[in-house]
Structure formats: C-alpha cells, structure tokens
C-alpha cells in the first residue's frame, strides 16, 4: 500500500489525510508498545474510507477539475498498457513531424484489433515538457488523421482517449494551420465507416479535445471534465478575473453529470473512491469492460449505419428555439 504522504493530496482531501495520519500514528504506537489495536484501526480505516467516499461524492466543479488534472491521473499510455493485449505504437504525420502530445497505434482489445488514439500528458515534469503537457500541435492532429484513415481502410474500430488542456496556442502551431488541422479531423471523423468510441479520461479541453472526440459513443470518467474553454480562460474574459475560475467552472457545466444531462455524452464510467489515480487498475478494468460492451453493440451495425448514426448524434446537439410564425 502506498503511503499517503507521497500521493500528492488535493486540498479538499485534507480531512481524510489527517485521519490517515492518525491511523499511521496509532499503528506505530501499537507496534512500539506491543498492543493489539487492530480493531480500532479497522474502525478508523472504515471511517476514513467513508469520509473519502463522502467528499468525492460531492465535489464542486472546480474540485473535479483538480482531480481531472491530477498529476498522477492515468494517461492514455497507462490505459493502453493495462487494457490492451497487444500494442504497436505508430508515429509521425508523414510531413516531417511526430508530435508526442498525441499517441496512436494498433492494439488488441481481447481478440479485437483496434486503432487507438489519445492525447498524452507526461508522467513527470521532464516527460510533461516532452509531451507539451498534452497540448498538440497541428502535426499531432495530422498524425491522428493519418491513423483514422488507416483504421477506416482496414475496418478497425477506433478508440480515442481525450486528455488535453487544449490545442497548443503557439506561433508555430498557427503558422502550420492549427485551425485547419482540427477542422479537417472533425470533418473526416464523420466520413469513417467504422465504430468509433471516444472516452474523456481526464481533461477535455475545447477544440483540441473534440478533434479526436467525434464518435458513435462518447464515454466519460466520473471525475473527468469537458469544456468549451478552460474555466480560468472563461473567468479572465467574462469576469475579467482569472481567480473567478470556480464560478466559471460551475457556470460552464463541465462535469460528466452535466454532460450526460446535456446529452453530449452517453455514459459515465465510475471511478474508484478518491479518483482513478488511487486505483488505476480498477479504473482500467471499468474502461475495458465498457469499451468491449460498446464495441459489441456497435458491431451489429454496418459501416454506413455507423456513419449515419454518428451524423445524427451530433446533428441533434445544441439548444435553440423554433419560433412559430
């Protein structure tokens, strides 16, 4: 079992952390004095678990955002390693670049060969710099485009994992056509005659997320978020104060529960108590089971039907009034 002090606790976890600290102390004292405190420890542990469950069942939107951005949260490659039975990573946009912020490759999910695409955040500071904190440049979207087309040609289901603060806002990204790269992916995803399942595993940051986020099924982890703009960015524009991010996070309706209600996603994947990072293998199992189940459902549809269904799904999204004449 990991010690709580090397687990990067979030602020709202402090009450649990304090309790766990006490459990540690009691355990140490009991050992030192050769006393059997196991019953007391069991009770306190149950209480800590209960407290954590309670805290995580009522997270505010901005707290969920912190869980979604947790540095230890499982990334695309973490899930690939745990849910796939085989994996062959593929690289490059064939136009001179390979963006490490998007990974892709061929995999087997059980017996089923699939194409996997996902944003990739780093696992530590050095890796994060290499991965550009999961913020793709056009080359990343063009690599994704190439792999989507490949999946379509060979009839491979496409599984995408969304976890990005957004497409990278940089001079080079603009010079190379960030907008065009994203737009082309959006359009292409509506042409593919294969099953596509997208899962928001962490942070769904705007157009940079959507560029690999159009599928027949959209799943979302319980503490993941998905937003048109970062709450900080929204607060800076509408409140003229980035510190109003908690208000913006609430107003933007970015949680999985909100998105289910707004009929943007199809299913919420429950996370282990305390978030996916506390029990990554458990989260991976949940993900794998859901993907297999949806793949099985979608396998009943023809390529044409899959394409049509995807069109209708996104065609319905939005809210407006049709005034009568």
């Amino acid at each position: 079992m990991t010690k709580s002090n090397d687990r990067l606790l979030l602020e709202f976890e402090q009450p649990v952390a304090a309790l766990e600290q006490r459990i540690q102390e009691i355990r140490a004292l009991a050992e030192e004095n050769d006393i059997d405190a196991s019953e007391q420890i069991r009770q306190l542990e149950a209480k800590a678990e209960e407290l954590r469950r309670e805290i995580f069942s009522q997270l505010t939107p901005v707290e969920r955002l912190q869980v979604a951005r947790h540095p230890r949260r499982p990334t695309t490659l973490d899930y690939v390693q745990t849910i796939c039975d085989d994996w062959f990573e593929l690289h490059g946009d064939r136009h001179g670049q390979d963006d490490p912020a998007i990974v892709g490759g061929l995999a087997k999910l059980g017996e089923q060969p699939v194409m996997i695409l996902g944003h990739q955040k780093g696992r530590d500071t050095k890796d994060n710099i290499h991965r550009n904190f999961g913020m793709p440049n056009p080359a990343g979207y063009r690599k994704a485009l190439r792999l989507m087309e490949h999946a379509h040609r060979f009839g491979l289901p496409l599984l995408t994992f969304i976890d990005t603060p957004g497409a990278y806002p940089g001079v080079k990204a603009e010079a190379e056509g960030q907008g065009e790269a994203i737009a082309t992916n959006l359009q292409t995803l509506f042409r593919l005659e294969i099953p596509i399942i997208c899962t928001v595993i962490g942070e769904g940051g705007s157009g940079g997320a959507l560029a690999i986020g159009i599928g027949n099924r959209i799943l979302m982890f319980e503490h993941a978020v998905y937003s048109v703009i970062s709450p900080e960015g929204c607060a800076a524009i509408l409140w003229k104060d980035a510190k109003k991010a908690p208000q913006a996070a609430a107003a933007l309706r970015i949680t999985a529960q909100d998105l289910l209600q707004l009929e943007v996603i199809d299913e919420i994947l429950p996370e282990p108590v305390g978030g996916a990072h506390r029990a990554p293998l458990e989260a991976a199992q949940t993900l794998k089971q859901a993907l297999l189940r949806h793949l099985k459902e979608l396998s009943a549809l023809s390529g044409r039907q899959l394409r049509e269904e995807r069109y209708q799904k996104f065609r319905r999204m939005g809210a407006f009034l049709e005034l009568s004449e």
Binding site: I237, A251, R253, M317, A319, L323
Partner: protein, 314 residues
C-alpha cells in the same frame, strides 16, 4: 469657404486627410463624425464621407482598409437585387445552461437582439450571385462578437444540408471571436455539427467557398471556416485559432512576428488560396463559381415550399 462650397469641393475629392489643410475646425469634425456624416479610418486617420465609404463597399479610399460590415450590408453587396431568400429566420437562441457571469446570458441576448435587429450572429439563405444560384451564410460580428452558439451551428448546418439537397454551391463568410462560452459544451459541439454537414456537401460533389473576414478565431476557424474547398480572405483580415493575447501569455508580450495571423501571413503560409479585396469579391466569386458549373443539374432552384411558408420574423 462656406459649408456649401466645401461640400461641392468634397465631391471632387472622395476623401480628405485630417493632417492636410482641413477647411473645417477640429470641433466640427468631431461633431460630424458623431453625427455619422463622416468616418475616420482607423488605419490611416483619413476622414471619408460616410456615403462615399458605403459606395466603396466600406473600404477606405485612401489606404484600402476594410471596415467591418454587417451581414445585411454584405448580402446587399454580393447578391443580385431581389434574389435573397432568407432561411430559418425563426431560429432563436435560448439559455440552456442558465449561464450567469456579470449578467445573465438571456439578458445579453436581448440586448444584442435589440441593438442589431438580428436574432443571432448569422444570416443564411439562398440567392443569386451574378445570376448564379448559391446558398450563402454570413456571420455578423456585431452580435456577441460573432460567437458560434447553437443557433449559428444549426443555421449553418441547415443551410449546408439545403445546399447538398439542391445541388448548390455554398459560400460562408466568417467573422467570429470563436465559440459562445455562454452555451458551454453545446457551443463546442456546433463545430462538429457544421463539419458533419459540410462532409455531406463535399461527398455530394458540391463546391464550398469559405471567405474569411476580420476577425475569425477559435471554434469557427477550427471548423467550417478552414474547410472550404477554396478559401479566400479579405485584405488585412486577422484569422487564427488561438488569439494573439493567449499566445503572448506563453511567449511573452511583443514577441509575435510582424503581421502575424493576417490574411497576408496566412497566404504566405499556404493556408488560404487567395486574398480578394472586397470591391472585387462579387466578381471574383462569380468567376470561381462559373468555373465549377455545371454540376448535376444547373436549373435555377425554384423557391422552395420551406421558404414560402416562412414569414419574416420581427
């Protein structure tokens, strides 16, 4: 010189430089600008008589600066008189998130609707451009910065579907700050929706010309604006995905290259096909359209039952 004489003089010269020998005093200039009789060019400071500016398609006669124009003005400039048939004018925005920042979104909507006399940030419809039938959509930056919410997405998707169905070329003019934050994730999904409709139009072998006007950013750039089979831009238009302020936050203030994200920059980067001055747009669009005809049937589309049953909304 009397004011009457002066007006006579003005007819000879279409514009007048502020820094030159101005026949009327500063105070009067300010007053007449306020009256809307004259407009000062933000690029070269030249004062131009408003009517002359209108006649020159809102392009500064001195420096060629393209003033921002409204969607109705754009349609009037481009389409054959009397050919405009608006579509889906009965679509109006709502407030699905009950979004509230400093002000409720519903209140903002009402303000902009009153100010612009538009229901939302795009006009869509059918019309003829130099005799060629087209489906056309024009964004209006005055309405909440041309932001794309559900109404913009739906109207563009419906227009595109109509163009697909009627075998019509599609022309979309963009002018937008990006997605409409107040509609949250639903505004993001309009990027998907418009791209989906354009995919079908493309599959049907129809032509889509995207015209980028100042400014076009964010979710509009990253969806329909960059999906044109052909992409044109007005001179000096600023177009990008991320706004300059956002980029400066990462690279530092004043570090952006000269002319960054202008139409000229985009052309040099190979991101657009051509820059066309507004005064030539109609002619050049007709030229392109004529080179793509005929495709399937070229008969003029009859006024559809849909357009006939739609009453203009107030």
């Amino acid at each position: 010189m009397s004011l009457l004489d002066w007006f006579a003089e003005r007819r000879k010269q279409t514009s007048l430089n502020l820094t030159g020998s101005s026949p009327f005093d500063k105070e009067r200039q300010v007053r007449e600008i306020a009256d809307g009789l004259w407009q000062k060019c933000p690029a070269c400071d030249t004062l131009t008589y408003t009517k002359d500016l209108q006649q020159n398609w809102q392009v500064c006669p001195s420096c060629g600066h393209h003033h921002r124009i409204t969607a109705p003005e754009r349609l009037e400039q481009l389409l054959d008189p009397g050919s405009w048939q608006p579509l889906n004018e009965h679509l109006a925005p709502t407030d699905p998130l009950h979004f509230f920042d400093q002000k409720p979104y519903s209140e903002r909507l009402a303000t902009y609707q009153e100010r612009t006399q538009l229901k939302d940030a795009v006009l869509t419809g059918l019309g003829n451009l130099e005799g060629i039938p087209v489906a056309i959509g024009v964004m209006d930056f005055r309405f909440m910065g041309g932001s794309m919410g559900s109404v913009v997405g739906e109207k563009i998707a419906r227009l595109t579907e109509r163009a697909t169905c009627d075998h019509l070329p599609l022309i979309l003019f963009s002018a937008s700050g990006g997605a409409r934050m107040q509609e949250g994730i639903l505004s993001l999904m309009q990027m998907a929706k418009t791209s989906a409709a354009l995919q079908r139009h493309r599959d049907a072998g129809q032509l889509f010309i995207s015209v980028l006007t100042h400014p076009t950013y964010g979710g509009v750039t990253a969806s329909f604006a960059m999906l044109g089979d052909l992409i044109l831009a007005e001179p000096g238009a600023q177009v990008g995905f991320a706004g300059p302020n956002v980029i400066e936050q990462t690279i530092g203030k004043g570090k952006l290259p000269e002319g960054f994200q202008t139409a000229e920059y985009l052309l040099a980067q190979g991101l657009i096909d051509a820059i066309v001055p507004r005064t030539e747009l109609r002619k050049r669009l007709a030229q392109l359209l004529s080179m793509h005809r005929p495709r399937l049937h070229v008969s003029l589309p009859a006024i559809s039952s849909e357009a006939l049953t739609l009453q203009p909304m107030l």
